[in-house]
């Protein structure tokens, strides 16, 4: 399945995700760490160890660096 990940204020990526991949894997795929960003599904943060269940997310950078 493809999932589009829009990094808020930055680029949008299309990621090929496999069954069991988590939102944390999505962060890694766009080059961010789970310590610096959170994934928003319908504008609500989701835990990084949760399996991906949607085809569109927004990614919010919370801290610089990391």
């Amino acid at each position: 399945m493809d999932c589009t990940a829009e990094v808020v204020g930055d680029t949008t990526h299309t990621i090929d995700v496999a069954d069991g991949d988590t939102y944390g894997d999505l962060l890694t795929a766009v080059g961010l760490s789970t310590h610096e960003a959170t994934v928003l599904v319908d504008d609500t943060p989701v835990p990084e160890d949760q399996p991906i269940e949607t085809d569109h997310v927004r990614i919010l950078r919370l801290i610089k660096g990391g």
């Binding site: 310590h35 959170t38 989701v46 835990p47 990084e48 949760q50 919370l62 801290i63 990391g66």
Partner: protein
């Protein structure tokens, strides 16, 4: 994933504790940890009464850490007659950066019954950081000048407002980075100073005996990981200025930050365990240095601030910049 406390949808996972928390329980968890830190540090002197309240000055920059700290302290103590809060914002004169963050501070405090003061380097020292970074008469990083000026203003104004404590928004990542840097640099004296200046519970610090000329400091957010501070600000929709200072140049701290977060990913809890061990070590070495000879402090000939020489570092730097 469901919240481990109530079964609602979780908004975060804390790998170091294994907990998944929903918005309500995450916010509550941050608030509980901050209140516990305030208790453990004995921030409120047990002699404090409504008739003889304490004044706490909060260093409010407009960044996520100080905004969350101000919001939390206001929620907790606004109605407490024993505590008077004052927010102090410093404008360093950095084009396109500080104006926006001062706006965030004003937006935050507008809805609060809170004294909020804004002080600038321009009015205090007749200089702005943009031009200091450009002329750089001492051949130092901009942060080295800025840190001296900021500490001077925070201490002086804290004293002027009759502050009993100066509170800053340092989070767990900030403190673990500083701890690791002090250890890697082999700077044992700095570890002792770190304990006395801001880590130790108040009864264990030399300043607890009122012998210190400086307003004692505390960091109530120092148990909260940086990402959780930011998530708290996001979930509570607090006005936060996210940009990085254009003059930021702490390259070594950036390296340490990367190292620590790499360790944290592989071994969740590393930041907490570093701080637990470091605080114990810092306590021991602080006692050791406490018995050693302390430097004699006298008043700076120009501004009266406590200093080991005739003229304090801030006055030396201001002179150097103005004669450049």
């Amino acid at each position: 994933m469901d919240c481990d406390k109530c079964g609602a949808s979780a908004v975060m996972h804390a790998a170091y504790s294994g907990l998944h928390l929903c918005e309500r329980h995450f916010l509550r968890s941050v608030e509980k940890r901050v209140k516990r830190r305030i208790r453990e540090d004995a921030l409120i002197d047990n002699r404090t009464t409504p008739d003889d309240p304490e004044t706490w000055v909060i260093g409010l920059s407009g960044g996520k850490d100080s905004v969350v700290l101000t919001d939390l302290l206001y929620d907790t103590f606004a109605e407490d007659p024993r505590i008077e809060l004052v927010a102090l914002t410093i404008h360093e004169g950095i084009e396109g950066y500080r104006d926006a963050s001062v706006d965030a501070c004003v937006e935050l405090t507008d809805g609060m019954e809170l004294r909020h003061e804004v002080v600038s380097y321009a009015s205090e020292f007749d200089l702005e950081m943009d031009s200091v970074a450009e002329s750089d008469p001492e051949n130092m990083a901009p942060c080295a000048y800025c840190g001296v000026f900021r500490r001077d203003i925070l201490s002086r104004y804290a004293e002027q407002y009759g502050a009993d404590k100066l509170l800053t928004g340092h989070n767990l990542d900030d403190e673990a980075q500083t701890a690791l840097m002090n250890v890697l640099e082999g700077d044992v004296k700095q570890i002792a100073k770190h304990f006395d200046a801001s880590l130790g519970p108040f009864p264990d610090r030399p300043s607890g005996s009122n012998n210190e000329p400086f307003v004692p400091r505390a960091k109530p957010l120092r148990d909260i990981p940086e990402k959780e501070v930011a998530l708290y600000a996001h979930l509570k929709d607090l006005p936060v200025h996210m940009a990085e200072c254009p003059h930021a140049s702490e390259a070594y701290r950036g390296e340490i930050q990367e190292l620590l977060l790499g360790l944290e990913s592989k071994h969740p809890g590393t930041r907490h365990s570093i701080m637990a061990g470091y605080e114990e070590i810092a306590h021991v070495v602080a006692e050791q240095y406490d018995t050693d000879e302390q430097p004699d402090l006298q008043d700076c000939e120009r501004c009266g601030s406590p200093t080991t020489g005739d003229i304090c570092r801030k006055c030396q730097l201001v002179e150097s910049i103005h004669t450049a």
